[in-house]
């Protein structure tokens, strides 16, 4: 009889451990959000409920011990556990209610898209400057003069002027920044700066200058070459 209750508990625990710790380590997978785990746990619980109500015997074997636990007269040491559960459950409900209704001290969260889509006219633009050692060197010189104060002499986003900005200047050495982007994307971002971002990019928080008012396009294309070379990254291509 006891097995009828122990098995579902074990199933629930095993499913939770699988979802929480095993799924994330499967290649190509990622940690599951809390809401998804809860959804799977609910499905598991529903499945257990259905399984144990398939026949009268299994149903009685499943619910019987619980009824005895809640209402039985001679349950020995389980009496204390019963009272503990009957007191704990309302307190947990109260705590959950308080947590969900209390005013939060945390500022509202912000969801910033780090690489929002560029305007159509920038899609597919290719770098018109020939990739020569001279052009790359010139680009690195422009980078040092205009970009390194924030993006850093080591292309790591840790320039001397960077520390106060939120979001922080991009770290080009990080493989999740310019290595994931095409040269045309960088051209758009350098040319239009923070104020050129769409709303999901939170334009009101970016300190990136609108370089089109200060630098000719050719310099911007050279800066892009210098950035990729200096950060030891390659632009993303369609091939």
């Amino acid at each position: 009889m006891k097995g009828a209750l122990v098995t579902p508990v074990i199933v629930m625990v095993v499913v939770y451990l699988l979802l929480k710790f095993v799924v994330p380590i499967i290649p190509g997978s990622a940690p599951l959000p809390f809401s998804v785990i809860i959804l799977y746990m609910m499905l598991t619980l529903s499945g257990i409920g259905m399984f144990y109500t398939l026949s009268k015997d299994s149903k009685d074997a499943f619910w019987g011990p619980m009824e005895r636990f809640l209402t039985g007269d001679n349950i020995g040491g389980m009496q204390a556990l019963r009272w503990g559960l009957l007191i704990l459950f309302p307190l947990l409900v109260g705590w959950q209610t308080y947590s969900s209704t209390a005013v939060s001290d945390e500022p509202p969260g912000e969801n910033r898209t780090i690489h929002p889509a560029p305007p159509g006219e920038y899609a597919g633009l290719s770098n018109p400057v020939a990739k020569t050692p001279d052009a790359i060197q010139q680009g690195k010189g422009f980078y040092a003069a205009y970009c390194s104060p924030c993006h850093g002499g080591n292309f790591d986003g840790k320039g001397p002027a960077a520390r106060g900005f939120n979001p922080p200047p991009a770290n080009f050495a990080d493989p999740t920044t310019i290595a994931m982007l095409q040269e045309s994307y960088l051209f758009w971002r350098i040319k239009k700066g923070g104020v050129g971002l769409p709303i999901e990019g939170m334009p009101w928080k970016s300190a990136m200058p609108r370089w089109e008012v200060e630098l000719p396009d050719e310099w911007i294309w050279k800066i892009i070459m210098g950035e990729y070379d200096g950060a030891h990254q390659s632009p993303r291509t369609w091939e």
Binding site: L70, Q96, Y98, P203
Partner: protein
């Protein structure tokens, strides 16, 4: 009867398991939600200024008043203004300490920062968005794809010894308001400026002034100028050459709200009642 009751018991199981599940998983999910902030040396120490509600008068003209120590300290990193020419690549002030108090009618914001010299052109400012539209932190620069709003700037300069209430929507558009609602007072001591700005929480000028509703978060940014003169007589930092912060959050604390406790008490009562009737019915079922 037992069959009927057995339909109710799953509800208890679901409730108990879900509650326990939530308790177990909540701390973990909180970790998941932690923002992936910048590297430690670039991360800000605070993300919000919280103005405590005080009874009695605000220290509007005393940046050194003892009551300031009761206000929560927020600390923000500052950067040289690089967004727009004329830019500056190294500013004197690197960090800014901010505290705030309000009395339900007025709000006082105290800025405290290290500056090696006291100069006539030393200055500080606080910036807010106006209305519902978002504004770029650099003077509300116009944005290409988003219709932004203006910013409201409260400005203080040592030689003027007063607060100035201004608006801007992009560099070069700074305009002093016709109606001045901001007071400011600065005190320099031991290499540190303490500047307090004070304004009513709400004003009648919705198009120009930020309106501070108690309990709600709004955005706030800061700027500081080192007015030191160099050997040629020029001022080190002036105009767009200044130390700036990004947008952060500001809130004037609301009066204590006990609603959450009331709801929790009702929920506890309902849960106890549910258990009471459930067990009573189960026992009746056994006797039947």
């Amino acid at each position: 009867m037992i069959r009927g009751l057995s339909r109710i018991i799953p509800s208890i199981l679901v409730g108990v398991w879900l509650t326990i599940g939530l308790l177990v998983v909540q701390p973990v999910s909180a970790e998941e939600k932690a923002p992936a902030s910048a590297s430690p040396e670039l991360a800000s120490e605070s993300n919000a200024v919280s103005a405590s509600l005080v009874k009695g008068g605000l220290p509007t003209d005393d940046p050194t008043a003892a009551v300031w120590s009761t206000a929560a300290l927020a600390r923000f990193p500052m950067s040289p203004q690089v967004h727009w020419p004329n830019r500056i690549l190294d500013a004197t002030v690197k960090d800014l300490n901010v505290r705030a108090l309000h009395d339900g009618t007025n709000v006082s914001i105290l800025l405290e920062y290290a500056d090696p010299t006291e100069d006539a052109d030393d200055a500080a400012a606080v910036e807010f968005m106006v209305g519902d539209k978002k504004a770029h932190f650099a003077h509300g620069q116009p944005m290409a794809q988003v219709e932004g709003g203006p910013v409201n700037i409260w400005f203080w300069r040592n030689k003027d010894a007063k607060g100035v209430d201004m608006n801007a929507m992009g560099f070069g558009t700074l305009k002093v308001q016709e109606h001045q609602d901001v007071q400011a007072k600065g005190v320099y001591s031991n290499g540190t400026w303490k500047v307090v700005f004070t304004r009513p929480l709400v004003t009648g000028h919705l198009e120009e002034d930020t309106q501070i509703e108690m309990g709600g978060f709004i955005n706030i940014a800061f700027a500081v100028w080192d007015g030191k003169k160099d050997v040629s007589g020029g001022i080190k930092e002036k105009g767009s050459q200044k130390a700036v912060s990004s947008w952060w959050n500001f809130r004037a604390e609301a009066p204590p709200n006990y609603t959450g406790y009331y709801y929790a008490a009702i929920a506890v009562g309902l849960a106890f009642g549910f258990q009471f009737f459930l067990i009573r019915n189960l026992k009746k079922g056994h006797r039947a």
